[in-house]
Amino acid sequence: MDLRFTSEQERFRAEVRSWLEANVPSPSRGTGPLPSLDTAAGFEAHREWERTMFDARWSVVSWPEEYGGRGAGLFEWLIFEEEYYRAGAPTRVGQNGIFLLAPTLFEFGSPEQKARYLPAMASGEEIWCQGWSEPDAGSDLAAIRSRAERSTAGGTGGTGGTGGGTGGTGGTGGTWVLNGQKTWCSRGAFADWIFGLFRSDPEAERHRGLTYFLVKMDSPGVTVRPIAQLDGETGFAEVFFEDVEVPAAQVLGAVGEGWKVAMATAGSERGLSLRSPARYTEAAARLVELYRRRAATEPAGAARRADAVARAVIDAEAYRLHTYWTATRVARGGGVGPEASMNKLFWSETDLAIHTTALELLGDEAEMLGDDGRPPPWLDGFLFALAGPIYAGTNEIQRNVVAERVLGLPRS
C-alpha cells in the first residue's frame, strides 16, 4: 500500500494544472463564465471549450492516442478530474458521450465504429444524448416499447413487416426503421446524436430482443421537444421517432443483445466514470469555506450546521478513497460489478447532503437568484444534485441491486 502519487503522476498533475490555469474560461480574461449549457448559445460555447481541450489533447486523457487521448491510466484520469474541478472549469457538455457511450464503444464497438465516433465525440464536433427512458418505462427500463424493424429491401420508409430482427443474427448490411418515443434525454435539446435501446424482437422475453442503436438527431423522422427542468432551462428533451431509417452499421453490439450493452453503459454511469470524486471533494472544500464565513457573521446558525458540514466533508473524502481503492483493483485487471450501485447510492446522497447543508448555511439568501436571473452556484448545484437519486437508475432500484446481487437476497 502506498497512498502517494508517483513523481510522474505529480508531474502530470502540474501539467494539467498549468494548462487549465491558462485556458479555463474566466472573467479575468474576459472569456467566462460560459452561458448555461442548456441554452442554444451556451451549448455552442461549451462545444467550443471541448474543442479547445481536444486540440491540446486534454479532452479524453485516458483514451488511446489514435482517438485523441493520451493513453493515460486511471489514476491520471482521476488526477485530471481533480484539477478540472479545482480550476472551476465548465461542465462537460460532451459527458454523456465521453463518460457513458465511449466506455461501451470501447467494449462492444467494431473498429470502424470506434474510428467513426470516438474522435468526433472527443472534439465536441458530435455531442451525444441518451435515449433510454420512455413515458411508460423508467425504473422498469425493460418495459420499453419503441421498436426497431428491419426495412424491406430498398427500404424507403414504411414499417416493413412485423417480425422484427431475430436475436443474434446481426449482420452489418441493411437498414433498420425506428418508431417510438424516448424521454428525459439529457442534452437532448441540442445534441447531434442519440444512443438508445429499441425493441427489435417483440416476441422475445422482455430483456431479450432489445438492440442498442446510434442515431443522428437530424435524421428524417426525428422530432425533438425540449423540456424545461427545475431551473427553467431545457436540460432534457423528449425525442420522437417516426419511421426513422438507420443503417445497420449503427447498431452497437449484437442485435438482440441491447440489454447487455446498455448495462455496461449503466455500470459506467453508476460506477467510476461519470461521477469522479473530484466533483464532491471540490464542493466539500467550498462548503468548509462557506462555513468559515458564516461562522464569522452568523455563529449561532453556523454552529447548528457544524455536524452536517463535517459529515458532508467526510463522506466526500470517503468517496474519493473508495474510488482510489476501486481504481487500484481495476488497474490490476479487476472489474466493477454490482458494487457500482453502491457507488451510485453514495455519490448521489453525498452530493445532495453537501448542497443541502450549504443552502441551510445560507439561510434566507439561499433562494436568491443572480443578477442574470440564474441560480448562483450553490442553488444551481442543489437543483442538479436533486436529480442524482433519480437518474442513472433510481436509488430504490440501486438498493434492490445491492441487496440482490451483493448480499444475495432473493428477487422480489
Binding site: 500500500m1 502506498d2 497512498l3 502517494r4 502519487f5 508517483t6 503522476q9 489514476f75 472544500a285 468548509v288 469555506e289 462555513y291 468559515r292 461562522a295 457544524a306 455536524d307 458540514v309 463535517a310 459529515r311 466533508v313 467526510i314 463522506d315 473524502e317 470517503a318 468517496y319 478513497l321 473508495h322 482510489y324 481503492w325 481504481a327 487500484t328 483493483r329 490490476r332 458494487e339 453502491m342 447510492l345 453514495f346 430504490e396 440501486q398 438498493r399 434492490n400 445491492v402 441487496a403 440482490e404 451483493v406 448480499l407 444475495g408 437476497l409 432473493p410 428477487r411 422480489s412
Partner: protein, 345 residues
C-alpha cells in the same frame, strides 16, 4: 498510488479468520462473557504464537516487527469474529508507546514487557483520566495510565481494580486505583501531549477497524436470516423494505472501510494529517456499526431481541465500541476543527 493490501497481509488475515472460526465460535464468546476477566489466556497465547499479538513488536524482542497497515486488517477480522482479546489496546496502543518511550525508563519498559507481549504472556490496557473506567483493566498485566497530562506505566501488581458491571461481558471495564510516582512516569509535559494524541489517533483507527468488522458481521448475519426466514410464504429478504434497510447499512460499511485503511497508512507513515484521517475513520466506522446494529436487529425481529440468539454478542460490541475513544459526532467535530485550522483557501 496503490491502495491495496499485499498477498502476505491478505494471507495473514485468512489465517486469523481460519483460527477464529475454530477458536472463537459464538459458544466460545459466550464462555468469555462468564470468564474471570472477559477473555481467554490460552487463546491469547495461541494468537501470540500466530504472531498476531506481537505483530508490532520488533523482531529482536520476539515479535513480527510489522506496522499498523499490517495490523488494520487483523483488527477488522477480530471485529468480524467477535474476538474478545485486547488486541487494539496491546498491539495498536500499548506497544507503540513502549517503542517510543524515552530514556532509561523507556529502555527498562521495553526490556521488561515487549518479549512477554510477543509470546502471549502479557496484555496491556490503556486508560485516560477522562474515562469513567478503563477497558480491559482486569486482565491486563501492564497499564498505561494518564493523569494530569502525564503518562505512566503501572504493573498490575501496583493497582487496585474495581470492576464496573457493563453491558458487554467480553469487553470488561474497571476503575483503577493507583499512585503516580517517578518510578511509573513514562513521559510528561509537552512531550506527553504528543504521545497521548498518538494513542488517541491509533485508538480511533484501531477501534474503527474493529467496528468495520463488527458491522460487516452484523450485516452478514442479517442477510443470512433474511434469506432463511419466511413470512407471507416467502423469504423476508425478498421484500423491498428489508432489502433497502440492508443495502443502506452495507453502503455505510463499504465506504467506511477505505477511510479506516487510509488512517492506518497515514499513522504508519507519520503523515501530518494523520489525526484528521484517524478522526474521519472513527466517525465513519462508529456510524457504520451503529447503523448495522440497528438494521440487523430490525431485520431479525423478536428473535434478535433475545439473549439466546447470537446477534447481541456483536450488537452490544458495536454500541460499546462506537462510543469508545470518541463517538461519531465527537470525531466529526474534531474533523471540522482541524479543517478550519488550515488557512482558508
Amino acid at each position: 498510488m496503490h491502495f491495496a493490501f499485499d498477498e502476505q497481509q491478505l494471507e495473514f488475515r485468512a489465517q486469523l479468520r481460519a483460527f477464529a472460526e475454530k477458536e472463537c465460535t459464538p459458544a466460545a464468546i459466550r464462555g468469555a462473557w462468564t470468564s474471570p476477566v472477559g477473555w481467554s489466556r490460552p487463546r491469547w497465547v495461541a494468537l501470540a504464537e500466530m504472531g498476531v499479538v506481537g505483530l508490532t513488536v520488533p523482531e529482536e524482542h520476539g515479535g513480527m516487527g510489522l506496522g499498523l497497515v499490517d495490523l488494520v486488517l487483523l483488527l477488522e477480522e477480530a471485529g468480524r469474529s467477535g474476538l474478545p482479546e485486547p488486541l487494539v489496546e496491546t498491539a495498536a496502543l500499548g506497544v507503540p508507546v513502549l517503542l517510543d518511550a524515552p530514556g532509561k525508563q523507556g529502555e527498562a519498559l521495553r526490556a521488561r514487557w515487549l518479549a512477554p507481549v510477543a509470546d502471549g504472556g502479557a496484555a496491556i490496557a490503556v486508560g485516560m483520566s477522562s474515562m469513567p473506567a478503563v477497558p480491559g483493566a482486569e486482565g491486563a498485566d501492564l497499564l498505561l495510565l494518564e493523569r494530569d497530562g502525564d503518562l505512566h506505566a503501572v504493573p498490575a501488581a501496583a493497582v487496585t481494580i474495581t470492576p464496573r458491571p457493563v453491558l458487554v461481558g467480553s469487553r470488561r471495564v474497571a476503575q483503577v486505583g493507583w499512585e503516580p510516582s517517578p518510578a511509573t512516569l513514562v513521559v510528561s509535559g509537552f512531550e506527553a501531549a504528543g504521545v497521548l494524541a498518538g494513542i488517541e489517533d491509533r485508538a480511533a483507527m484501531g477501534v474503527g477497524a474493529v467496528l468495520v468488522g463488527v458491522a460487516d458481521r452484523l450485516i452478514a448475519m442479517a442477510a443470512h436470516y433474511a434469506q432463511e426466514r419466511k413470512q407471507f410464504g416467502k423469504a423476508i429478504g425478498s421484500f423491498q423494505a428489508v432489502k433497502h434497510h440492508l443495502a443502506d447499512a452495507l453502503v455505510r460499511v463499504e465506504f467506511a472501510r477505505p477511510v479506516v485503511y487510509r488512517a492506518a497508512w497515514s499513522l504508519s507513515e507519520g503523515d501530518p494529517e494523520a489525526r484528521l484521517h484517524a478522526s474521519m475513520a472513527k466517525a465513519m466506522a462508529s456510524e457504520a456499526a451503529t447503523v448495522a446494529a440497528r438494521t440487523a436487529l430490525q431485520v431479525h425481529g423478536a428473535i434478535g431481541y433475545t439473549w439466546e440468539h447470537d446477534l447481541h454478542l456483536w450488537m452490544k460490541r458495536a454500541w460499546a465500541l462506537a462510543a469508545s475513544w470518541g463517538d461519531a459526532a465527537a470525531h466529526r467535530a474534531r474533523v471540522l476543527e482541524l479543517l478550519l485550522a488550515h488557512p482558508s483557501a
